[in-house]
Symmetry: C2
């Protein structure tokens, strides 16, 4: 690591709040402690410039494959949290809650808005784009490599958080037991068995429509919508999707993204983008007052959860990937019982979700591969000289997602 | 219905509270209104003595099969709620939340502790034991009929609520997406696909053990335990079950029930019956501090939910079939996010759950078919002359489940 001594440029968060500056700081070496001033950014991709002492065939025996396969020069995506890949939690795929998990860009772990980033437990954490055989995919190895060669760096950055989180929300909802009558076309609990449905117990075609609300159309909400459309159109599940945001520019973005998806990718259902009041009306109209079978809550505040509860049907599911604070839930135990409601909370296990997110990234390059277009999720790429101003503009809602190129 | 004019005996609830009396009242005729004094009991079986005008081949076209098949003399079990079987909610199997649902034994609908009971929407509500072909089962028609001839009336009463509710709790947990890595032996999200698991991502045998806590060992909790044991032993899922109740006599009952199950029916795992404090210790010990993958909450109060939250692992599921009141949930949105917890609330769709509950009833006659034994869920059967005293004794915890025979 001799050539990596010295200083680098990094975007850093200065306490107490919202004082973001580009600073010259030392390149990270080995293990680091906790800093009061810390580097921002929980989404980053990069190229391996040095490997810690855990790497190499000798010490890597019985450890995650990357400890023996990762090499300097490989291109990698990092999930937004560290995960060891070696504890029981990680092995089960629940990487977001690895017992040694830390969040990048937090006071406990410097983030990715720097020229050099130290990734703890890197053999478990990183997604190695130079070793396509290490991840499951619907693509062949040749198809993966061809796809990789066509993906821009900005496109790959979607994998760090927003795309796997969107896929996670959709995956949880579609696999929930209370949703299975809609997926299998068989009533509960026959939906879990291979037994035939007795005469007179058949579900009608009109009952089978999978009605879903998406609350919040920021980048993750848009990714959840794209993932959900991909799943229902591929699996030919009749659907109705109500995409909701109080913010007009977010609704316009969602409409443009929906418009950019080819006809096959949204076949078999209806999709509307609406405000909160319109959503309640649409849900009533489409479900004859029964409510939505699933609600994806992608905001993380009390009013979003409250809306989700209002919209969900009895025996429906609320899948919440929003980051919630220590506030009371906006419904009682009695409310939850009376509606037979199910709730899935929590952080996306991004590392585990990379393979299906990668497949979707490749499939939807018309959205994820573009910059500054109406359907793009990235507004622009700037250098560190514009970083401080970009934070200010984002905070005021003047720009959407802005990427930093630390080498520009 | 001419022979059904006159009066009958019934156990009735006199407001304001706990004043239970056996009264002589008119036999119900046609539609009835709301009474201040109402008949108790949401669990009952019976024999059809008269059919309403909706029944018969002519008017039954396109309606649930019972409207054309049910006949005077048929033996039936009623679920604890009315369900029409004809709305979209019922067709999906979510019978507990039928749009026209009413709870038997409530001020809105007289219950089953009478000699004659009027069952609204009976063609959708009742489970017709005389027509085994109308329900799906792992048994053949001949096996079903043979099983039926061996079942006592007291045994069949289990089907009205407690057994389907226990099966419902276990069914929800075993089918939850967050539980699938344990069931399939593949990490999330590969557990949902047929794709092979790449090298280095295999789950170890020790990770696959499905650890479940059952909070509350009343009759429904015991039924949930019996159902869960049946599912995991049949499907050969390695398991550890922690059955919890603060009440010593309930723990003794659970131990006796576990003892009555044959070795095949509990093979492949461990099962302990413990107090609340012991449960926390056992969960720590068995899961190395990670927590239980699923918690079945079968009590319906705040402290039971609080214990369930304490016991559940990150990315675990709490399946709550307890009846909750309008009290705040004992955890914040942040708690739910931080633990990636899933919650399933609500009332069992008993009518839809009858077929699997019936299969289990037949299989576990050593428990459900006995009376007054250590492993029995029914303590005794009495006549209406002992009904008032039985309510008093039950309220004081002096007896467990007592059945009334209104014709004795």
């Amino acid at each position: 690591m001799s050539e990596l001594n010295g200083t680098q440029k990094a975007v850093r968060w200065h306490p107490p709040s919202y004082d973001v500056r580009v600073d010259d700081i030392p390149i990270p070496q080995g293990h680091s402690g906790v800093h009061d001033v810390h580097i921002c950014g929980h989404e980053f991709i990069g190229e391996v410039v040095a490997l810690g002492s855990s790497f190499g065939a000798e010490s890597a025996k019985g450890r995650p494959p990357l400890y023996s396969r990762l090499e300097v020069g490989h291109k990698v995506v990092s999930p937004f949290t560290v995960n060891c890949g070696e504890c029981s939690v990680c092995r089960l795929g629940y990487t977001a809650r690895c017992t040694g998990s830390l969040l990048f860009g937090s006071p406990l772990l410097n983030g990715g808005q720097a020229q050099y980033v130290r990734v703890p437990k890197a053999g478990g954490t990183l997604f190695d784009l130079s070793e396509p055989s290490t991840w499951a995919s619907s693509m062949t190895e040749t198809e993966k490599e061809k796809a990789l060669s066509n993906l821009s760096d900005s496109s790959l950055l979607m994998l760090a958080d927003i795309l796997p989180t969107g896929v996670f929300a959709a995956t949880q909802a579609i696999n929930h037991p209370k949703v299975q009558p809609f997926i299998t076309g068989k009533p509960w609990p026959l939906c879990f068995s291979s037994a035939p449905v007795p005469e007179g117990l058949q579900i009608l075609d009109e009952d089978k429509v999978f009605t879903v609300a998406i609350v919040g159309l920021g980048p993750v909400g848009v990714c959840a919508a794209v993932s959900l459309l991909d799943i229902v159109s591929t699996r030919k599940i009749p659907f109705r999707i109500i995409a909701i945001d109080p913010n007009g520019s977010r609704r316009e973005k969602m409409k443009a993204v929906y418009g950019a998806i080819d006809e096959d990718g949204k076949a078999g259902g209806e999709f509307v983008v609406v405000s909160v009041d319109e959503a309640k009306q649409k849900s009533k109209e489409w479900t004859h007052g029964v409510g939505c079978t699933a609600v994806l809550e992608v905001v993380g505040n009390t009013s979003a959860l409250e809306l989700a509860y209002d919209l969900v049907r009895a025996f429906g599911v609320i899948t919440s990937v929003g980051v919630h604070q220590q506030r009371p839930l906006p419904f009682t135990g009695g409310n939850a019982y009376d509606k037979n409601v199910s709730l899935d909370f929590g952080r996306c296990p991004a590392r585990a979700m990379f393979p299906p997110a990668f497949d979707l990234l490749v499939k939807r390059q018309d959205i994820f591969g573009t910059i500054g277009q109406p359907a793009s999720l990235i507004d622009k790429i700037v250098d560190f000289g514009q970083a401080e101003e970009s934070y200010r503009a984002f905070d005021k809602g003047e720009v959407g997602k802005v990427l930093f190129d630390p080498w520009k």
